[in-house]
């Protein structure tokens, strides 16, 4: 049985389980929608007062906002297993049960849960993204569509990498590290605005350490047909999403180091 089919079984089981409680699902999805819609209200209020930021209009920033929120919501929905890895697998010793199965560990953790409640956030981000598109009237070329899809998968890989890193650290800390929220939720917040508004230290962090700019800012600039105010050549955005996969690959390597360090616990 190939990995993708196995994941399909995991996902289907998780979806069936959640659909047993439709009321609960609707409440949590609605809560997600409201909580993220409110951050967009804040963004709208800023533009209502100040008009623009560093030469970017609201519709352009809304494109960043919608894109990163949809990607993050999808990543958030498939990475629950990594988020709760410390308390639910390491502290309890449950991790051993994954190790003895003849299937990949990362695959099994991706299969932990497919959280449907994140659809609320996906919907909110998608609506903002669609609104931005109606305002911008972009001339789409096949290359733009390809860039957007490449950026989506690269950003998804990067956010999954952050969660793999969080789970890896749990081999040592045994806890779920809330500090990592700075990279995930904080990363979403940071990439809602053009990277050019940040000071060099933060900008470089977002470009070279956590390749957030590579999977959101540069490819979306290409789609918008805008020149980077910081002077990066136009082809950068077409290729840079690859860094998201590189980041994921590096965290997967670190994960192997963590697995080797693991000593069982529990009874």
């Amino acid at each position: 049985m190939n990995a993708l089919r196995l994941y399909g079984h995991y996902a289907a089981a998780s979806v069936r389980a959640q659909l047993q409680y439709p009321g609960s699902l609707l409440t949590t999805a609605g809560g997600q929608l409201a909580a993220t819609a409110i951050t967009f209200l804040g963004l709208w209020a800023r533009f209502d007062r100040f008009g623009q930021i560093a030469g970017f209009r609201m519709a352009e920033v809304a494109l960043f906002y919608g894109f990163v929120n949809v990607v993050f919501a999808v990543a958030d929905s498939i990475t629950r297993g990594f988020d709760v890895f410390g308390p639910e697998y390491v502290q309890s010793g449950q991790f051993v049960r994954l190790v003895v199965r003849p299937r990949g560990l990362l695959l099994q953790l991706f299969g932990h849960e497919l959280r449907l409640s994140r659809l609320g956030r996906v919907a909110q981000g998608a609506v903002v993204f669609a609104w931005a598109l109606t305002q911008l009237e972009l001339a789409w070329t096949p290359a733009d569509v390809a860039t957007l899809l490449f950026a989506f998968s690269g950003a998804l890989a990067m956010f999954c990498g952050v969660l793999v890193l969080q789970a890896t650290l749990a081999f040592w800390t045994l806890e779920s590290l809330e500090v990592m929220n700075v990279l995930s939720h904080g990363g979403v917040e940071a990439s809602q605005y053009p990277v050019s508004v940040y000071r060099p230290w933060l900008r470089n962090l977002l470009r070279y350490v956590l390749p957030l700019a590579a999977v959101t800012y540069y490819p979306l600039l290409s789609v918008l047909g805008r020149v980077d105010p910081l002077g990066a050549p136009a082809w950068v955005g077409r290729l840079s999403p690859a860094l998201g996969f590189v980041f994921f690959g590096l965290t997967a390597l670190l994960w192997r180091v963590g697995v080797r360090h693991y000593t069982s616990t529990g009874s």
């Binding site: 809560g31 209200l41 100040f50 930021i53 917040e189």
Partner: protein, 274 residues
């Protein structure tokens, strides 16, 4: 003495929260990250349109953001998690057996929860902003001193009222949880309201002018927006007296509402578990 039976659970919970060092550190890193982002974003917005915000200047906004982030844990964004757990597993029955007033007991514990999580953040964030930033030449980004000593003293008084508003709001939400037996709806609503209406997402004075009267009158403004406006001089003169009176009014109204709701909810209390 009666006060002691509420002061004791307050201090127990307050001191227990202070011992979570990893949580305090995580909170500190998150606060620094969010401050950095917000400060740079606002700097860029104010540069784009320097005269767009006569009510709150960039310098005032910088001070506001530091204090709002340091006081972030004062946000009443949920019902008391321990009350929620007690309703779920039935141990709420123990709370009913205690020879104390349940509302006051839960109010004291809510205040301890808010203050116990806020205190470590204040101790970590304020020295960073006030001492470290100016020392490394970033004084323009630091928390400025209060506009006057009187403003500072008034801010502390207003902040004490703010803690009361937050604790009363949390206890009101807890009463809803007791009544409905479920916390998800209430908490989703509280989270959404608290982030916007307290000024945590955006200082209330920066929302569109047409919404200002409503935003400044609603109860969540009393949590920390009012004290912070006093601190940075956006609120001056007689207006301060009115703002303090409004906070007192909301504390009173929320306590009365919470008491009535809790009393009626406890009449129909179903104890779960066994």
């Amino acid at each position: 003495m009666a006060i002691a039976s509420y002061a004791a659970p307050f201090s127990v919970r307050f001191q227990r929260l202070l011992t979570y060092r990893a949580a305090a550190f995580a909170g500190f890193v998150a606060r620094c990250w969010w401050c950095s982002l917000k400060l740079m974003i606002f700097d860029a917005f104010y540069t784009s349109a320097p005269n767009a915000s006569p009510a709150l200047s960039l310098a005032q906004t910088i001070s506001y953001i530091w204090l709002a982030q340091a006081l972030f844990s004062l946000l009443p964004f949920c019902a008391d998690p321990e009350v929620t757990a007690a309703v779920r597993d039935g141990s709420v029955a123990y709370d009913r057996l205690r020879p104390v007033d349940t509302y006051t007991y839960w109010f004291a514990r809510a205040a301890a929860w808010l203050l116990g999580r806020t205190a470590p953040q204040l101790v970590l964030v304020l020295p960073l902003s006030v001492v470290v930033l100016p020392a490394i030449g970033l004084g323009a980004w630091a928390l400025a001193p209060p506009v006057s000593l009187v403003a500072f003293a008034t801010m502390l008084l207003s902040l004490a009222l703010g803690v009361s508003v937050a604790a009363a709001t949390m206890t009101l939400a807890s009463a809803f949880v007791v009544r409905s037996g479920d916390d998800r709806g209430v908490n989703a609503l509280m989270l959404t309201l608290a982030f916007v209406l307290t000024g945590s997402e955006l200082p209330l004075l920066l929302f569109p002018d047409w919404a200002r009267t409503f935003l400044l009158l609603q109860p969540f403004a009393g949590v920390f927006d009012t004290p912070l406006r006093i601190y940075c001089g956006a609120l001056q003169g007689h207006a301060i007296v009115y703002a303090l009176a409004l906070q007192v009014f909301w504390v009173f109204a929320l306590v009365v509402l919470g008491r009535r709701l809790l009393a009626s909810a406890l009449l129909h209390l179903e104890v779960q578990g066994g």
